[in-house]
Symmetry: C2
Subunit: 474 residues, 2 copies
């Protein structure tokens, strides 16, 4: 232990076995004593030569620590007089943080200890890890240093071209790659679209009711005044759209409504387009899981009917994996530049390497093959779930919507899925999710569940439905 200052005594020691470099140890202790006021301002500091001798270290080590403290203003030198504690450097730090109130927000884990009917997850067990690893290695092998630099907000052209080609062939979307903006998934896409289109007198956004609660929160967070339009067996009840409103956008999930799962027929699509055209409003088409359609090829997009009027949102969360965080927006030409600007000031751009790997995954045909394989798996999962519902509930459970996507809705007439009932089901071993959570006008969907089947095999699902039956019977 060495006295640090000639005027007031203060001590410290160094620890040669610690990982922290000696310079840093000396620096940290001196600094902490200045901050705490133990070494008061104006007091003279022991000379570097003497401190080095006392500690038995090389003088350079002490000099480095002192230089640092001088640079940061803790010490000052007076010519010919030595080194002093600088004025104004004492400060009493707060207590150590209390983190007892910290909690998880937004995210819901997939519970493997329960039969978890969480929706929106594809069968992640079949992800082609080896292929992805190979493509990743190839991309890194070919990368130039400038590929590691900042990049365009719209995303890498390699990926945008593959997206444009794919959605033209499989989704009937008509666009040039320059209309594509690569985003951090659908969530970011909804935020960008809300920022772009909800402004001034155009602050109304028309949403399907029910619709994913996240979308309601994001649109409202950007100042959107939400106008809900009920969904029936053919999607948004377009005839209920109010005449007098000039909305910023009308948000629809026409291929497979979330959560109800219904498909909007062409007549309503045309009527919706005419409504939007007459008001100079945009349609936002969220096409989140339309690749998975089990009774026919995927339904074509509304975008293909009028590329000037529709903002199309797609995602790789359901077809590749959610952890990748890549989705995209197809903008009408007039919105392209402003969309890029909003993305730039949101997070500049998506990870370049991830984009290049994904582009190659699509270009080499792995993507379409993987979607095809997952479709087969999901179709079987869905059938097993329908069979299980039939076996356990008969006509007491009605399956809503089209055979498509990663979830179905089931209506249990006369049942009310209260928080208490949901908790009982969970403690019996199954986790189910009520449609009511996603309803804007509350009270219409208390008897209906969203049942996701992407991650669950037939046996697990049957266990879950059997638990559900027992709980509803109790």
């Amino acid at each position: 232990m060495v006295p640090l200052s000639g005027e007031k005594m203060s001590f410290f020691a160094i620890d040669r076995s610690a990982a922290e470099p000696l310079t840093r140890q000396i620096y940290a202790q001196l600094r902490s004593q200045v901050l705490s006021g133990i070494l008061p301002s104006g007091s003279r500091v022991i000379s570097t030569r003497r401190l080095a001798a006392e500690l038995g270290v090389s003088r350079n080590i002490v000099l480095d620590a002192f230089d640092q403290l001088l640079a940061e203003g803790y010490l000052e030198t007076r010519t010919g007089a030595g080194t002093f504690i600088a004025p104004g450097a004492a400060f009493h730090p707060g207590e150590m943080p209390d983190l007892s109130a910290v909690q998880t927000v937004g995210f819901r884990p997939f519970h493997t200890d329960l039969v978890d009917f969480r929706s929106g997850l594809p069968d992640l067990n079949s992800f082609p890890v080896r292929t992805w690893q190979r493509l990743s290695r190839e991309v890194w092998d070919e990368l130039t240093p400038l590929d590691l630099s900042y990049s365009q907000p719209e995303g890498r052209v390699e990926l945008r071209s593959e997206i444009a080609r794919y959605i033209a062939a499989y989704r009937g979307v008509r666009c040039h790659p320059d209309q594509v903006l690569v985003t951090g998934g659908t969530t970011q896409a909804v935020g960008i679209v809300s920022r772009l289109l909800l402004r001034g007198s155009r602050s109304t956004c028309i949403l399907e009711d029910p619709i994913t609660s996240d979308i309601q929160i994001i649109a409202a967070g950007f100042g959107g005044n939400i106008l809900p339009i009920p969904v029936d067996g053919q999607g948004m009840r377009v005839e209920a759209l109010p005449e007098e409103v000039r909305p910023g956008f009308i948000y629809v999930t026409p291929s497979h409504q979330f959560p109800l799962g219904v498909t909007m027929p062409i007549q309503r699509r045309v009527r919706l387009l005419k409504y939007a055209q007459a008001r100079g409003a945009f349609i936002v088409e969220d096409d989140y899981d339309s690749e998975f359609r089990y009774d026919s090829p995927p339904i074509s997009s509304i975008q293909g009917l009028d590329p000037q009027r529709v903002v199309y949102i797609g995602t790789f969360s359901k077809t590749v994996c959610p952890s990748l965080r890549i989705g995209y927006i197809v903008f009408p030409p007039e919105l392209v530049n402003r969309g890029r600007e909003v993305k730039w000031f949101t997070d500049l751009h998506n990870s370049s390497v991830d984009q290049l790997i994904l582009a190659r995954f699509i270009a080499e045909g792995h993507f379409v093959r993987h979607v095809h394989a997952m479709k087969k798996a999901h179709r079987a999962h869905r059938q097993a779930l329908v069979d299980s519902l039939r076996a356990h509930f008969g006509n007491a459970a009605e399956v809503l919507g089209s055979p498509a996507g990663l979830h179905l809705c089931a209506r249990f007439a006369g049942v009310r899925f209260t928080p208490g009932l949901l908790a009982r089901i969970e403690s019996a071993g199954a986790k189910v999710y009520p449609v009511e959570e996603h309803a804007i006008k509350k009270g219409r969907w208390r008897d209906t569940l969203i049942l996701g089947y992407g991650m669950l095999g037939p046996q697990r699902m049957d266990e879950g439905i059997s638990i559900l039956r027992r709980c509803l019977a109790a």
Copy 2:
């Protein structure tokens, strides 16, 4: 060519050599003829059997196309009467897009055909590609299917722990890993902080002047009323902070001011903290390139002085690479949950695999080694630039700020970097960036350039400075 409808004649053909499946070809042509009105609603469609025979394809191919058109509402079947074009399905699509106005927004490429003094880029030539590839392979080898699912907004605990350890040891930041939020770089971090802290009566944000123009735009975009405080040789002139204001936050780059490059001494830091404390305001500390300090170890953070009062922002764009798009925020405990909520509704979370690779890169010591190697390279680059400025300009160019970071500022007394002069320099072969671009109050920095040196070797820089001298002499 086959007539499609019994009532009105309409033809199409299939192309067996095309990549598009035959079902899709039949579907697409029928659909397009319904949409365009060539096949009017109510008209009867040729039978699938006959169409198959006429086209010489299997009937299943035609049935699949018809099923799809039925599912989408283009066709309808009347029992016993056959298949008809459904009413309300005709629509006249818009013209093909005019993309002539589309342009790059925000992003500035690094020009290799010029001597480009763009700031903010580290030496990307030395990125350890092989190490990164190995870590990527290892992470993928160990990944479970649920790692591919959705994840927590705050980021993977593996990465947050490494960040907390690293910034404690090297930046004097005191925090628990739960206070760390992984972000899509500093841009997203600034957006999240602005969303969180600029609200209601707290809409004023105090910025250093000059400061990165992107930060001004982001804060203003979230409703911030910007109050600029000038920077002098010791950073923000804290004594000029107005008494009567209660700001949402005060944004500072105290370790290495951007763009001027100066360091804020401890006295000003303490005074700034007291100002913020007295007003219940937060300090946002942007620590973007403080790892690179060439005359002493990195300057400790303000956060370490008062973890309750400071929101600390760090980035891996300068220490790993910008294309990765990973940065982080360290929140005071009271802001942790709300910060996670904003991140969730921004883009849910960062790519999980990228986070895990980066966590391993830090945990295995590659990160600190890489930063150390880059620091040596950057120090040499900076010295070469200073030498070159001295050789070509002597006292006519004054180098501002501390020897740190990835750029320096140079003041050319009497020169005015007008758009015309900048264009002449560019056509002579060098690209330079004026500080004035980042000034909030215009007019004070017309004679000063930001010169980035991360990506440029000594010889290139000397070429660039020599071009600059010729252009200023002309």
